[in-house]
């Protein structure tokens, strides 16, 4: 048993240095990128067009007429969600509340999507 643990001896000073440095970088990157800022506005889109931008701090319910029916978007306590949707699978409703910058809820069947944005909107694209 002890003999099996002897592989620790193979680690030299430089190895420990690199492992420490790497762990430090990992923790640093966690602090940098896992702490997403809260959003300030929500933007509602239908298809390609923007229907409106609303402050996330003002509680309200927004009704959006989509492609197959009416979606209900609720803003409450600095968070937003799709409360009701006419779509069949209800993925958008089950996603629940979003409040972090750059998060989004998309309802493809109804062409309705809502984005949480900070001060200005970032690009959102996938290109090849």
């Amino acid at each position: 048993m002890i003999r099996k643990l002897l592989f620790i001896r193979k680690f030299k000073t430089g190895d420990w240095l690199i492992i420490t440095l790497s762990s430090f970088l990992i923790v640093l990157s966690m602090f940098m990128w896992w702490d997403l800022p809260d959003g300030k506005y929500i933007e509602i889109e239908k298809g390609q067009s923007t229907l409106g931008t609303y402050s996330i701090n003002q509680d309200r319910i927004i009704l959006v007429d989509g492609q197959i029916g009416q979606s209900q978007i609720e803003i409450k306590n600095g968070k937003a969600r799709i409360k009701k949707s006419p779509c069949r699978k209800q993925y958008c409703v089950h996603q629940g509340w979003v409040n972090k910058k750059n998060q989004m809820v998309v309802c493809l069947p109804n062409y309705v999507s809502l984005f949480i944005i900070g001060d200005k909107k970032n690009y959102d694209s996938i290109n090849y």
Binding site: K10, L17, Y123, N127, Y128
Partner: protein, 171 residues
């Protein structure tokens, strides 16, 4: 029968053998199921590190780049986004190895080199992803996770290479 003009040296044979092992490992690597797409042990790096330590750096470069090329052709990702990710990862990890390979062996073993090269692999891939495939900062959310996995698998792979180097291999 025309005679072959190209003289095939002993080192060519060696590169071919080592690349064949690297390709096999890369394909095994491809089929290992992983909870997060992209988090892979990267066992092909074992052979690259072994080559660099046992032979020389240039042989390692050959083995690494042949590995990327042949494995992508077998897996059908040649010239697709995955291929460029893999290529960039390989190039970045080779670069990091180039700068660190001459460090005194008494100070740093192959384990350190393994960790650095696997981290460089991840960082190179993220560079390509961020600049080209998904130009959005949201992708950086995954970076700590990938760096953590590169540290863990880097140590494991390094230990395997260490054991390989300690053995007497024939062939």
């Amino acid at each position: 029968m025309t005679q072959s003009i190209i003289k095939i040296s002993k080192s060519d044979h060696m590169i071919a053998k080592l690349s064949a092992i690297a390709v096999a490992l890369a394909i095994i690597d491809f089929f290992i199921p992983s909870p997060i797409p992209g988090v892979k042990p990267g066992i092909a790096n074992i052979i690259i590190l072994f080559t660099i330590y046992k032979y020389d750096f240039i042989t390692g470069v050959w083995v690494s780049l042949l590995r990327v090329l042949v494995a992508s052709m077998i897996l059908g990702t040649f010239l697709g986004p995955t291929f460029f990710l893999s290529l960039m990862g390989a190039v970045m990890s080779l670069l990091s190895m180039y700068f660190l390979k001459d460090i005194n062996k008494a100070f740093m073993s192959v384990i350190g080199l393994s960790v650095v090269s696997s981290s460089a692999h991840v960082l190179g891939q993220f560079l390509v992803v961020r600049l080209w495939i998904i130009p959005h900062d949201g992708i950086l959310y995954l970076l700590p996770l990938f760096l953590l996995s590169s540290l863990i698998f880097g140590v494991v792979n390094g230990l395997i290479v260490e054991n390989l180097l300690a053995r007497k291999l024939n062939g």
